[in-house]
């Protein structure tokens, strides 16, 4: 098992993701530079958080057109697992690998805080170690995480079980005040059609060891190792 963490100019959670996979989970982990369309034979790909290209033009827009993303698209099309965290989610939307877009937070503020997520589908490599309906703690740090898609797309995502996570209360309730950035239908993470690509605004790599105060994120990152549930098709 080899994991590639893509590095763009301005990525700043690349080393966190590397630490999680290399040292906590203990799998071979390599960095993939944005200028090279080469994933070094990886079995899973991480698009990390940060501010690629300084968020110029639109968050993720310039990164999504970089050479490495041609390789990521090809990898995803063949069914390879790809997780885009925060800026990585924005890049996946801009590249067309995931539907929708991430707008400025509803209240215009950069939000750096804990949130709670309810797993809505465990039919993906990254959610198969979670139970459907399970609530986990997570951390967000973003100014543009307000998920937007037209009504038709939202209905299709719901119908196909492609909403991976929703912002909820600590008890798992749908009270709107816990949808802190104003996302459509409180969506925090979505899957592609093949359910092998996950984009989410919260950072599982910031809550994956005891010293960070919470280990809920580990189950998401570890999912690529397999286990508990079968890959796409099983579960929700």
């Amino acid at each position: 098992m080899k994991v590639a963490v893509v590095v763009f100019p301005g990525s700043n959670c690349d080393h966190d993701a590397y630490w999680s996979y290399r040292h906590l989970i203990g799998v071979e982990t390599v960095f993939a530079w944005h200028k090279e369309a080469d994933l070094h034979g990886a079995d899973a790909v991480v698009l990390p958080g940060g501010f690629s290209y300084g968020d110029y033009l639109r968050c993720g827009a310039i990164a999504s057109r970089s050479p490495v993303m041609r390789a990521v698209s090809e990898f995803a099309r063949r069914g390879g697992p790809v997780i885009g965290i925060c800026n990585g989610f924005q890049i996946l939307c801009e590249s067309g690998l995931l539907p929708g877009a991430l707008l400025r937070n509803r209240d215009l503020r950069f939000l750096c805080r804990d949130v709670y997520l309810r797993c809505e589908s465990n039919a993906s490599p990254f959610t198969r170690r979670l139970e459907r309906g399970q609530t986990i703690r997570a951390h967000i740090a973003h100014g543009e995480g307000n998920y937007f898609a037209d009504e038709q797309t939202l209905a299709r995502l719901e119908g196909d079980g492609r909403v991976a996570f929703r912002y909820v209360s600590p008890q798992g309730g749908d009270e709107p005040e816990w949808n802190v950035n104003g996302s459509a239908r409180a969506i925090a993470g979505v899957l592609n059609e093949g359910k092998n690509v996950l984009g989410l605004m919260p950072h599982p790599e910031r809550m994956d060891e005891a010293i960070l105060g919470c280990t809920d994120g580990l189950a998401i990152l570890e999912g690529v190792l397999g286990g508990r549930r079968a890959a796409a098709g099983a579960g929700a």
Partner: protein, 83 residues
């Protein structure tokens, strides 16, 4: 040859920045400011200008908008070409 491109959030997209500025204009007494939409302006010098002249320039700038400068899901764009 210069292309001047204006990109604005689509009507179906909530523009919280525009809404905040609408409120501020109202506070200053500009009650007629009914709806503010905030976008971006991009100026591109085309050098050398396309051989096909303004019509080719329009076609290529339109492609620039679709392929990178605007996100058609959330933004509308318009542009003018100055020779």
């Amino acid at each position: 040859m210069t292309a001047r491109i204006t990109i604005t959030p689509r009507k179906t997209v909530l523009d919280p920045q525009g809404r905040a500025v609408t409120g501020s204009l109202h506070a200053l007494g500009f009650a007629e400011a009914a709806d503010v939409r905030i976008g971006r302006f991009i100026e591109i010098r085309l050098d050398p200008p396309p051989r096909g002249g303004a019509s080719e320039a329009r076609e290529r700038v339109d492609r620039m908008c679709r392929e990178l400068l605007a996100n058609p899901l959330i933004e509308d764009y318009r542009f003018e070409i100055e020779s």
